[in-house]
């Protein structure tokens, strides 16, 4: 990596780390749009998850919690399949997080390009908590990976977001 880009990346990380330290940590839903499904990477900070659970979060219990608080439907209300395929503990800008990989699949014959995400994970309890829903990759738009786009945020009482990849 050229030195200037390395310096810029280092500054960005330091900036983001400092911002995170000054702001209550928030959640992310990072979406990878594929031809017939969507892969979601869900990142939830343990400090805020602990408040939501009113207890200590565990990797084993996290998939069940996530599925109780996250669903996906077509715009007409037909349910998508939501499957948590893995959960890992991680550190993100000095904050401990759980990172879950979630496979989202439309009903047979349905489009994987638009859906309604319903989620109140953490936000059902923590009133100032924000979930950032971000489009990170799209098989039909390879430029997206270089410049992920914020699709919207979820904060109590808002728990639904209509989702489409930036280039439809």
């Amino acid at each position: 990596m050229p030195r200037s880009r390395l310096l810029a990346a280092t500054c960005m990380l330091a900036y983001a780390a400092a911002t995170a330290a000054h702001h209550a940590p928030n959640s992310f839903v990072r979406l990878d749009f594929r031809e017939r499904s969507v892969k979601a990477e869900v990142m939830v900070p343990l400090s805020e998850l602990g408040y939501a659970l009113q207890g200590t979060p565990t990797v084993d219990a996290f998939p069940g919690y996530l599925l109780r608080h996250m669903s996906v439907t077509t715009v007409r209300g037909a349910a998508w399949t939501v499957k948590v395929t893995s959960v890992h503990a991680m550190t993100y800008f000095d904050q401990p997080y759980f990172r879950a990989e979630v496979e989202l699949a439309p009903p047979p014959g349905g489009s994987a390009r638009d859906f309604v995400l319903t989620s109140d994970a953490v936000t059902h309890e923590v009133r100032n908590h924000v979930v950032y829903v971000v489009a990170e990759r799209d098989y039909a738009d390879t430029t997206l990976a270089a410049a992920p786009r914020l699709l919207g945020i979820l904060q109590y009482p808002v728990r639904q977001l209509a989702v489409r990849p930036p280039r439809g």
Partner: protein, 359 residues
């Protein structure tokens, strides 16, 4: 460091820098004529480039550019107080003294000293420094047309609108880290008045069945908003959420004021005045009268979450009226994660930015 020392000595000589222990009930200031005169005097002391920094247009973008994040995270616009010479500093202080109450001025001093205290702990150079507070005049100062005085830095945001459609005291954010500390031989507790008032209120209402708010609060709810996109530099950190929506379900708002006994009701009024007495009385008194009108109090709710004693992170108190919105929250400290720090926010559902902004 020399400038910081000089400023601290100046504040001490002026009688500031002592713990803000007295209830914040002394009110004065905010009359338009003295504020205009003080601004004009300050302008005369400034160079042309400094005046260009001070004088900015009154727009939604400039007005909402306040934050509770340090300077390196959210750059501020305006005239940096740490760059002023002694004559300019004195003139700027006259502006603050004209616009704020004695308590509001003391809070400004105390919060800046708290940032001076944090300066040696600023290992990431994020901008903790009492010199990093900024003053702007948005719009043309006038006796009749709307204009705004914006004064703030890391843990303070005064947004005072004169000649607005509504009295313009809000949004008003203030916070402190540490909560209490010793600095250069003096004791400081910048938010002593407000924390005591909110603690007394939360403790008094805790036994009431409807007082505990649903949910948990790890920061103020209607404050600034940072936008994170992984892999990119965070953006925002200003009042991009304005205008805000507010809870309307009574079950989300706490116990109604009419359900409280007289002593508890008095604590509500003391708490709201501990915030509302920070701007000059000419600005905030009409708001206090509106908040304390019988009709408004009938529709006012108070609630808390966490520990009423406010000694645990996640402790939260809120006063929520037809137009009044005051929050107080206890968060982990940043410099020393084993400690806590305070954030507080006063908004007016009708009169933020003097009612002059619409989006």
């Amino acid at each position: 460091m020399q400038i910081t020392f000089t400023r601290t000595v100046l504040l001490t000589l002026l009688g500031a820098g002592t713990a803000n222990a007295a209830p914040c009930e002394r009110t004065n200031g905010g009359q338009i004529e003295p504020v205009l005169a003080a601004v004009a005097t300050l302008q005369e002391t400034l160079t042309a480039p400094q005046r260009a920094l001070l004088e900015r247009p009154l727009t939604a973008t400039s007005a909402t550019q306040w934050s509770n994040l340090p300077l390196a995270l959210v750059p501020r616009a305006g005239l940096r107080l740490g760059d002023l010479d002694s004559k300019q500093n004195a003139a700027a202080r006259d502006v603050f003294a004209a616009a704020l109450s004695a308590c509001g001025l003391a809070l400004l001093d105390e919060v800046r000293i708290a940032d001076d205290y944090l300066l040696p702990l600023d290992r990431n150079s994020i901008g903790w420094d009492g010199r990093n507070y900024y003053l702007s005049v948005l719009g043309a100062p006038s006796e009749s047309s709307p204009w705004m005085l914006q004064l703030g830095g890391h843990h303070l945001a005064y947004n005072l609108v004169f000649n607005g459609t509504q009295p313009g005291a809000t949004p008003l954010f203030f916070g402190t880290e540490p909560i209490r500390f010793e600095y250069q031989g003096r004791s400081h507790e910048p938010m002593n008045a407000q924390s005591n008032a909110m603690r007394a209120l939360a403790t008094a209402i805790a036994a009431h069945a409807r007082a505990r708010l649903p949910g948990t609060y790890t920061d103020v709810v209607k404050g600034v908003q940072v936008t994170f996109v992984p892999g990119q530099r965070p953006t925002g950190g200003t009042d991009t959420g304005f205008p805000h929506s507010y809870p309307t379900d009574a079950g989300e708002r706490g116990v109604p004021y009419p359900a409280l006994d007289e002593q508890q009701q008095a604590l509500v009024r003391t708490a709201l005045r501990s915030y509302a007495s920070l701007p000059g009385a000419a600005i905030s008194q009409p708001l206090v009268e509106a908040y304390e009108s019988p009709a408004a109090l009938r529709e006012t709710f108070v609630g808390y979450s966490g520990a009423p004693s406010l000694d645990a992170r996640g402790s939260y108190v809120r006063i929520d009226g037809p137009r009044l919105w005051m929050e107080f929250v206890v968060q982990p400290a940043v410099a020393d994660r084993t400690q806590n720090h305070y954030h507080a926010l006063w908004r007016d559902k009708q009169a933020d930015y003097g009612g002059e902004l619409s989006r």
